[in-house]
């Protein structure tokens, strides 16, 4: 069966996926370094090693993401829109709305029955509503991103952050901590603020069930649950693979479509 690969070089993390036919056989996620070309090489080597295949066995490979122009070894490059839609549909075949939150951006797409993209919106201009917002807040709260995500569950009365701007919200958080609010209530407030910003982007494309969430923030249960409440829809999180891999999976699928001549 044909072996294809996808590589998604993001601003904070880079991902690679190797597939044999319809099956994921190798994956890797690493933190992006200063040189995207080196990062791409390193993450792909890791995924190939895990798959136990040699690069010359890869029929086709597709690159995507923020650093796509710098990926030297791929046979084609494709937009994040195309790759994320394919990846999300592979991981959650019933998905009609895909919300992807990356380290420095947030994307929402509405798909038709066949997975074609009907509408797409992205924010990469403002840190609010991106992974960076949570990173900044986790740092002030002196928590890991994982710990921050879990706080919503134990919070009793989550605070409301008045400001959308990450810089002003940071001041709100410090003020709440100084006035004696618990870390759990402040952390839950942070997750809620994040969800509310993402919800407005998702509503901009029109939310249709099933809603699937990909990207690193999909692992934050606090944000996912808050977003479910705001959108009034259940959110499906990919189980077949790490939600952060969606773009790279989509790229590997696109590589197969290219090889088969269907694209």
């Amino acid at each position: 069966m044909m072996i294809t690969a996808g590589c998604d070089v993001g601003s904070l993390t880079s991902k690679a996926v190797v597939m044999r036919g319809n099956r994921i056989i190798g994956t890797a996620i690493i933190r992006s370094r200063t040189h995207p070309e080196k990062t791409a090489r390193q993450v792909m080597d890791q995924a190939l090693k895990m798959a136990g295949v040699d690069e010359k066995d890869v029929a086709h490979s597709v690159g995507t993401g923020y650093g796509v122009e710098k990926i030297a070894f791929v046979t084609a490059r494709h937009s994040e829109i195309a790759c994320h839609a394919r990846g999300a549909r592979f991981l959650v075949p019933t998905a009609r709305t895909v919300i992807d939150i990356g380290g420095q951006d947030c994307k929402a797409s509405r798909l038709d029955e066949n997975g074609g993209v009907l509408k797409f919106l992205a924010n990469d201009k403002c840190a609010a509503g991106t992974g960076r917002f949570l990173e900044v807040m986790a740092k002030i709260l002196n928590l890991s991103l994982d710990e921050l995500g879990k706080l919503s569950k134990i919070a009793r009365a989550p605070v409301t952050l008045a400001s959308t701007c990450t810089v002003w919200a940071q001041a709100d958080v410090i003020q709440y901590l100084n006035s004696g609010e618990t870390v759990a209530d402040v952390g839950a407030g942070v997750n809620n603020a994040m969800a509310s910003r993402v919800a407005s982007l998702a509503n901009g494309v029109g939310v249709t069930a099933d809603v699937c969430m990909t990207g690193g923030v999909a692992k934050n249960q606090g944000v996912v649950h808050a977003l479910e409440k705001l959108l009034n829809e259940r959110i499906v999180i990919p189980r077949k693979a790490d939600p952060q891999l969606a773009g790279a999976v989509g790229a590997a699928i696109l590589a197969r479509e290219i090889a088969e001549g269907s694209k």
């Binding site: 200063t34 201009k125 403002c126 959308t164 701007c165 990450t166 810089v167």
Partner: protein, 263 residues
């Protein structure tokens, strides 16, 4: 007759004391946590400099971010009205006022009598406010009040592509690591801030003469960049410290009200 104008901002508090239409004294302090305490301190300093006490004051007007919490003032007035009034007093040819404070930016257009015709305001996004420069000065390890001098030594501005404070901070750190000259970066930052605020000013319609007030107006680099972005010269506020524009306007309004009351 003695009147007092008090402007309690997010970072600094300012007060101006006037007697029979002339400025007797003024003071500026760094704001403390409670606006009421900032107000008390700055009022005490201003009156003591003039050798007066609170009982000597016939009328007082409070303005600024913390105006609702100023004790001992006769009444409060919006920042827009006070800034317009202060700038028009300093230079009656002024038709447009651009004010950049520590946590906001305002643009207002005045008619020939100094009344506010239109205004626009940003306090939602830290980009385009004094905070933008504060964060960048910190990242570059340059004192805030030295940014203007530093940018004057630059021969070529570095283009800053991010608008968001959080993203631009990362960009600045990357630029430093890549070996860009701090002076060139600062000049680029001044342009970035000026372009953002110029967009705000253009939304009210820029009519000459244009005056620039607020703490950031003391940065010669931003003055130059804003003048370029607006495509017109910025006129000086005769004999008035740009940071005192709001407090002065408040004192002038206090004078009017005291006069109305006496009549």
């Amino acid at each position: 007759m003695i009147v007092l104008g008090v402007d309690v901002g997010s970072l600094t508090a300012k007060a101006v004391c006037m007697k029979d239409g002339k400025i007797l004294s003024q003071a500026l302090i760094r704001a403390v946590t409670r606006p009421s305490e900032s107000a008390r301190q700055v009022i005490a300093q201003t009156l003591s400099a003039a050798g007066l006490s609170l009982e000597d004051v016939a009328y007082s007007v409070g303005t600024g971010y913390g105006r609702k919490q100023i004790p001992d003032v006769t009444e409060t007035e919006s920042e827009i009205t006070c800034h317009g009034r202060g700038a028009f007093y300093a230079n009656p040819g002024v038709r447009t006022v651009v004010d950049i404070g520590g946590q906001d930016a305002k643009a207002l257009r005045l008619d020939a009598d100094g009344n506010v015709e239109r205004y626009s305001y940003n306090d939602k996004c830290a980009s385009g406010t004094g905070r933008f420069l504060e964060v960048m000065a910190d990242a570059l390890d340059v004192p805030l009040d030295k940014l203007g001098e530093l940018s004057a030594t630059s021969s070529r501005a570095v283009r800053i592509s991010n608008q968001c404070v959080v993203f631009a901070e990362t960009e600045v750190i990357t630029l430093v690591n890549q070996g860009a000259e701090p002076a060139d970066i600062v000049r680029g930052l001044h342009h970035a801030l000026a372009n953002r605020v110029a967009a705000l000013a253009k939304s009210v319609g820029v009519t000459p003469s244009v005056a620039f007030s607020g703490g950031v107006a003391k940065n010669a680099g931003v003055v130059l960049a804003l003048s370029e972005a607006l495509g017109c010269e910025l006129v000086p506020l005769d004999g008035v410290d740009p940071q005192f524009c709001g407090a002065l306007g408040a004192a002038l309004i206090a004078m009017d009200r005291a006069g109305e009351k006496a009549a």
